[in-house]
Amino acid sequence: MQLELRDVTKRFGSLVANDRISLTVAGGEIHCLLGENGAGKSTLMNVLYGLYRADEGEIVLDGEPLQLDGPGDAIAAGIGMVHQHFMLVPVFTVAENVMLGNEETGVAGSLDIDAARARVREISDRFGFHVDPDAVVGDLPVGVQQRVEIIKVLSREAKVLVFDEPTAVLTPQETDELMEIMRQLRASGTAVVFITHKLREVREVADRITVIRRGRVVGEADPTATNTELAALMVGRPVELTVQKDAPTLGEEALVVRDLTVADSTGMVHVNGISFEVRAGEVLAVAGVQGNGQTELTEALLGLQEHVKGSIRLDGRELVGRKVRQVLDAGVGFVPEDRQVDGLVGTFSIAENLMLDRSFGAPFVRAGSVQVGRLEEFAREKLQEYDVRAPGIHTPAGNLSGGNQQKVVVARELSRDLRLLVAAQPTRGVDVGSIEFIHQQIIATRDSGVPVLVVSTELDEVVALADRIMVLYRGQVVGIVPADTPREVLGLMMTGERPAGAVA
């Protein structure tokens, strides 16, 4: 079994997402596709899966060129894909999701749900997945949902299995288990394509590594290559993998959170009675797998959540129950986790986005009218200062790359007079160069004496920025530990285990 991509080219308008990419993967091997966000990995895989049509080039399976007009053709050819954003219907059961598109039917098209259940059990047992076929997918933890995706693909007898950034939502333990599953698949003769930007994982399981940068194959590497070598290949220049910072100069306890509970409109509790404090000049990093209350915690800090109990005090002033504007006026800077939804208005210009939370008065608004001259001057200054790569200040923010968009958000928040910075996933989907820059800005903010709360699901980022680490699990604080806590311990804590010696 051998799958070959020959000179695949895909363009979106003037942007060349894939430029003559060639790649082969054989049965019984794990081929890693390494590249930064936006390098074109996912586009390439969507071409392979029939979701996009290649402008040039061909896909060849065992010497036969494939005509892929849709995912149905790819599935028929034995290509399966575990998507980064799971392609599961949340309100369906596991069995329903697995059978969808591949249904076994009885009289008059009636569903044979028992056959689907049996199939889920059979595959689940073969790989030791422990998945209940009747569980509703939306109620399952993400790690289990991913197994449902894998079962779904395997039930279609895939010979080539593509994993698109599969570890982004997993705990370190779940990641290890996924690696084990990949090895099992390899042993059973399946060809595995593993797309990622995480160097550690690549070196652990890959048989071969292909590195992509800006839509082109820039090289192949051995699994024995070092992190630094791989990173340099991926980014195109030597990269600093650690953040330069000195020991913090700690001030008073500035942010004090006590017994904070946040529920949603259905009464489900997402943050469950947590207490912590951040001192001036300190970075408290919140670690945890996505969906363990981080979103609700940061939104509660800004006053965006409705059902909040407990107390949030900033410099002694209570923030719970205040309006968002009052919280902003109290000096809270907020980098939201999804910049495209909450951080920017994509159709607004960079300049307009830079004044988004300062539209109430000086310096940008006087007597109800925007002070265009002052705003443009400010915007030009910030573009320079934050190294935003854009044609000009009137470019719509939506046209920028992820890294430059995030720099606009960071520039806006940091250019106010801050008493607290809350940064949620500050570098998600951001290129390595911008990550370095944003990390430097966060540390500089800390060093100016501002308390900083960073939320990240990337353990590397947490460890790099933190002075202390708070681990969240199911809305609860598992523990607040020093920054030099071993990764294994942090990983365990992210699964809810409280290690001996760690004080909650």
């Binding site: 996009y52 799971f86 598109g101 207490s275 059902h307 199911r474």
Partner: protein
């Protein structure tokens, strides 16, 4: 580096976070307001005498005697019981618990009996006729709601239900007259509904136009088109083109003779029996077949459906056409059952009430049917009460179906979730 402890000390980490009751105060408020309203009506209105509830009809196996009660007394007993229900609802609200559906149901039944007993003072209320008429009037609403449920389940909001009903009514009259057969008329109605759905589909599915806007525009278009055709074509040739044969009531042997149930359910027009079949088939198909699974997947997460090789666009078209045909068939009620000719704008906005039934019924065919029946009941109540001469002004009674709609949708739906991709066009890539 300091490691601080919260004041409460380490609590064990739990896997299942608690659920805090987030209770809405809508239910207690609405129950209290309705109770006060009825009490005020009884206290201020000058009603006296007895009210008889007639449960029997001709041809029943057993003759059930009329139930006669004092009008005002009954109303006051009902008010007291309703007040108790409202108090229980308030108590639950204060204890952070939701008002259960059964309490609302008990309240509604008591309130209805009290209101009817009071409003029909000095007269005899034909209970069976009231309910049978309610079912008959609900026919277009149920068909419309089924069409609406199917459309939304596949991800297309079908605001054009009213247009489909009206087009169905028009086609049923025309085709039925020409063919001289009511059943051919029903087929014509279904085809007309599907045609409206096709236009909706082309704009909403293929051209990504806002579905609400297309739906509203279609409704206006159909009103104009049928009115024009009526005055230009049907009215001048009424004998040939606008006098379809009627679908009269058909009594089902045995079942139709059961007291109370028989005359309500089994002495109806053939369209009602078609409705029973339609509700059963749609429910079964939606939840138990491959087609239904795909429809629901496309309405919830079209991209997921696409990635397993399901053609989202084709599934949407097919389902929207079926939905349109069902709604269109409902339109045949107006010209083949209700009256035997087409008239301008004869649906009277029933399609919008059907749409409300879809939401009130939480996008489920059975519940939407029940909701449509409730609205049908409100319509028929208005008619029956004005016939027996109730003290409530007829203008107010005409509002009743719409008031019930607003209350039902706004107040008592509770937690409900539309299909996730309803109203969202699917663009590949």
């Amino acid at each position: 580096m300091t490691t601080s402890a919260p004041t409460t000390g380490p609590a064990p980490v739990t896997d299942t976070p608690p659920v805090i009751a987030v209770v809405s105060k809508k239910a207690p408020v609405i129950l209290a307001v309705v109770t006060v309203a009825l009490a005020a009506a009884v206290a201020l209105g000058s009603q006296s005498g007895d009210t008889s509830f007639r449960l029997a009809t001709r041809n029943d196996f057993v003759e059930i005697p009329d139930i006669t009660v004092p009008a005002v007394g009954t109303a006051w007993v009902a008010v007291v019981l309703m007040a108790l229900c409202a108090a229980e609802s308030v108590r639950r609200y204060l204890a952070h618990r939701d008002t259960p559906l059964w309490l609302v149901a008990v309240f509604s039944v008591i309130g209805m009996i009290g209101f009817l007993g009071w409003a029909a003072a000095g007269a005899t209320l034909p209970v069976v006729g009231l309910l049978a008429g309610a079912l008959a009037l609900a026919v277009p609403l149920v068909f419309g709601a089924l069409g609406g449920v199917l459309g939304e389940r596949v991800g297309v909001v079908n605001i054009a239900i009213d247009g489909q009903l009206l087009a169905g009514a028009f086609a049923a009259a025309l085709v039925g007259s020409v063919a001289g057969s009511a059943w051919v008329g029903v087929l014509g109605a279904a085809a007309a509904g599907a045609l409206v759905a096709l236009i909706l589909g082309v704009f909403a599915i293929s051209y990504f136009v806002d579905q609400v806007i297309v739906g509203v525009v279609l409704n206006v278009l159909i009103v104009g088109l049928t009115s024009f055709m009526f005055s230009q074509v049907l009215a001048p040739n009424a004998a040939d083109l606008n006098s379809p044969p009627r679908l009269g009531p058909v009594t089902i042997p045995v079942l139709g003779d059961i007291p109370v149930i028989g005359p309500i359910l089994f002495r109806q027009s053939a369209l009602v029996y078609l409705l029973y079949v339609a509700v059963a088939v749609v429910t079964w198909a939606l939840y138990r077949t491959k087609w239904g699974l795909r429809v629901r997947a496309v309405g919830e997460h079209p991209k997921a459906a696409d990635t397993v090789g399901i053609d989202v666009v084709r599934t949407r078209y097919r389902t929207v056409l079926i939905a349109g045909a069902i709604a269109g068939a409902g339109g045949a009620f107006y010209t083949l059952v209700s009256v035997s000719q087409f008239n301008r704008e004869m649906t009277g906005g029933a399609g919008y009430i059907a749409l409300a039934a879809v939401i009130f019924g939480k996008w489920d065919p059975i519940r939407a049917t029940l909701a449509a029946l409730l609205f049908g009941f409100a319509s028929n109540l208005q008619g029956v009460l004005s016939v027996i001469g109730s003290p409530v002004p007829s203008e107010f009674m005409l509002m009743l179906p719409y008031v019930v709609t607003v209350f039902a949708v706004a107040g008592l739906v509770g937690q409900s979730r539309a299909p996730a991709a309803s109203g969202v066009p699917y663009r590949k890539g």
